[in-house]
C-alpha cells in the first residue's frame, strides 16, 4: 500500500450500453485505484468490459455515473475539447492494429501528437528521434508503415504514444496481431518504459504470456474485478 494518491482512481463508476430496447450494464459502481508506476494487465472474457475500461480511462468514452480521476484530475466532467487537450498531454494509446497513418513515414507518425504542442520543428524532430531510439527504430525514420513488419509498426506506435511524455499508457491488445517473438519484443519495451521511465501502464490482453510481463493482473468478468494476483 502506498499513501500517495493513485495515478488512476475510479470511484463508483457505472457504464451502460443500449442495444435496441435492451440496456446492458457493463460496470455498476466499479472502484479501482492504480498507483503511479504500476504495470497492470487486464484480462477477461470478451464483453467483460476491458476495452470499455480503457476507453473510460482515456477519456474517449463517458461514464454514466461515478468519478474518474487521473493524476488527481477529475476527467468525468471535462468537455470534449478539454478532454482532447488532456489526452494529448497525459495519455499514450497503443492499439492492437497499430493504427499508423499509411501515407506518413515512421518519423511523421511519431510526430503527430507533437503537432498539438507549441514545440518548434527542431525540438519536435529531436523528440521524435529520441522516441524512435527508445523503441530501437532510429534507422527507420523514413520508412512508411507498409515497408515495415508488424512488430516494427507496433514499435512506431509505441514511440508515438510516448513522444509527448505522457504519464499513463493505455494498451489495447498490443501484441494481439504479432507473432511470439515480436510480441516479446513489444512487451519488453513496455517493461522498459515502466521500469526505467516510470510510465504507468494499463494493458488489456487475452494472452496470459503477455500478462506475465505486467506487475499485476486484474481479471474482469461481468463488470467486476473478480480476481487480483501478482504476476509471476
Amino acid at each position: 500500500m502506498t499513501t500517495e494518491s493513485p495515478m488512476v482512481r475510479l470511484t463508483g463508476v457505472s457504464k451502460r450500453f443500449t442495444k435496441g430496447k435492451e440496456t446492458i450494464s457493463i460496470f455498476d459502481h466499479l472502484d479501482l485505484a492504480i498507483p503511479g508506476g504500476d504495470f497492470i494487465a487486464v484480462m477477461g472474457p470478451s464483453g467483460s468490459g476491458k476495452t470499455t475500461l480503457l476507453n473510460l480511462l482515456g477519456g474517449i468514452d463517458r461514464a454514466d455515473g461515478g468519478e474518474i480521476a487521473v493524476a488527481d484530475r477529475r476527467i468525468d466532467g471535462l468537455s470534449e475539447g478539454e478532454l482532447a487537450t488532456w489526452r494529448a498531454a497525459n495519455i499514450g494509446f497503443i492499439f492492437q492494429f497499430y493504427n499508423l497513418m499509411p501515407m506518413l513515414t515512421a518519423a511523421q507518425n511519431v510526430e503527430l501528437p507533437l503537432l498539438l504542442t507549441r514545440l518548434r520543428s527542431k525540438e519536435r524532430a529531436s523528440r521524435v528521434q529520441t522516441a524512435l531510439s527508445v523503441v530501437g527504430l532510429a534507422d527507420r525514420v523514413k520508412h512508411r508503415p507498409r515497408e515495415m513488419s508488424g512488430g516494427q509498426q507496433q514499435r512506431v506506435a509505441i514511440a508515438r504514444a510516448i513522444v509527448s511524455d505522457p504519464n499513463l499508457l493505455l494498451c489495447d491488445e498490443p501484441t494481439g496481431d504479432l507473432d511470439r517473438h515480436s510480441a516479446d519484443e513489444i512487451l519488453s519495451i513496455l517493461q522498459l518504459l515502466n521500469g526505467e521511465l516510470g510510465k504507468t501502464i494499463v494493458m488489456v490482453t487475452h494472452d496470459p504470456a503477455a500478462a506475465n510481463y505486467a506487475k499485476r493482473i486484474l481479471h474482469l468478468d461481468k463488470g467486476r474485478f473478480v480476481e487480483r494476483e501478482l504476476a509471476a
Binding site: 482532447a84 503527430l112 508515438r160
Partner: protein, 386 residues
Amino acid sequence: MNDFDLVRKNLFRRKLRAVLMIVSILIAFMIFGVLAGFYRAFTAGEDRAAADRMITVNKINFTQPLPIAYYNRVRAVEGVRQVTFANWFGGYYQDPKNFLMSLAVEPTTYFDVYRSEFDVPPDQLQAFIRDRGSALIGESLARKWGWKIGDRVPVASNIFSQKSGGHTWDLTIAGIVKGKADHIDTNFLLFQYAYFDETRSFGKDTIGWMILQTTSPENNDRVAKTIDAMFANSTAETSTDTEKAFGKAFAAQFGNIALIVLLVVGAAFVTILMIVGNTMALSIRERTREIGVLKTLGFSGPRILGLVLGESILLALLGGLPGLAIAALIAMALRASLANVAPAFALSPVIALEGVALMIALGLITGIIPAVNAMRLKIATALGRG
C-alpha cells in the same frame, strides 16, 4: 511537418483519384474563365458607360437611319451639353475577312463627347478636322496593321458604295487615338461624315445614331422624353436611352449571354460538385478509423474539421488555379482573332478573384458534410470499440 503537410499527404494518398478530381475541377474552372471572359467582353460597354451620356437611335431598330436634321434640333434641347453623331460604315481592309470597326463621325464634336475615354493630340485632331479625306485610328488598330500617320489606307465597305461605283474610300491617317485606360478598346477607325455623305451613292443626309451628353445625369430622363416626344409621329421616331442601357440592348442581340454563361458554368459546377462531394465523402469515410486515432491523440473536433475542409479547399485550388491559368492563355491566344467581336476578351483580375472565391466556395461546399461528420465522430465508434 505541420497541418498543411497532413492535409496535402491525405489528399494525395490515392494519387490517381486526386489527379482525376483535380483534372475535372480544372476543366470546370477553365470553362468558367473563358465564358466569364466572353461575358465581360460583351458587357464591357455597359461597365464603362458614362452616366451622363445617352444614345438616340431610330425607334424601329438601331440599324435604321435618322435624318441628319435631327442633329441641330437635339442640340437645342435644354439639358443637352453636347451632341455628336456617327454612321456605321461596315468597313474592311483589303479582304472582307479583315473587318474594320469603322465609323463616319462628326469630327468637331465626337471627341468632346468621348473626352473621358480617349486622348487625341490636339494637332492630330486639328489635322483630322481640316482634311476631309483623313481618318483617326485607335492605337490597337495602328499596331495591328502597322499603320502610321501619313499612311494612305484603302478602306472598303460591305454596305456602301461610292457614286462612282467603287466600294473603297482612300483615307489618310491624320492621327492615332489612345485610350485613357487599359481596358478601353482602341481597335477602330473614324473618318469624316461629311466626306462619306458627299461621296456615297445612297442614304444621303441620314445618320446612324446620335450620342449626346447631358448637363447632369439627373436630366437624363427629361432629356430623353423631350427628344423622343419631339420626333413622335414622324417618319423616323426616336428612342433615347442611357449609354449603359443601349450597350445592354446591343449585347442582347447576341442572345442572353449572362444566361448562357450561367447555364454552362452552372451545369459544369453542379456536376463537379456532385463528383467531388461524393468522392470527398467516400475518402473521409474510408479514413474513419484514422480520424478516430487522431482524436485519440488529442486532435480536437474543430481541428479535424479544419483538416478535412483544408483538404477539400486545397483540392479545389489545385484544380481551379491551373484551370484559370489555362483560360487566361486561351483568352490571350484568341484575343487577336476575336478583336472585332469581343475586343475586351480577357481573363481580368476581377474574374480571377471571382474564380478564387468560387474555388473556396466549392471546397467548402464539397467538404462541409464530411468535415462535420468527422468532427462529430465519436472515437469509440470510429475505432470500432463501442
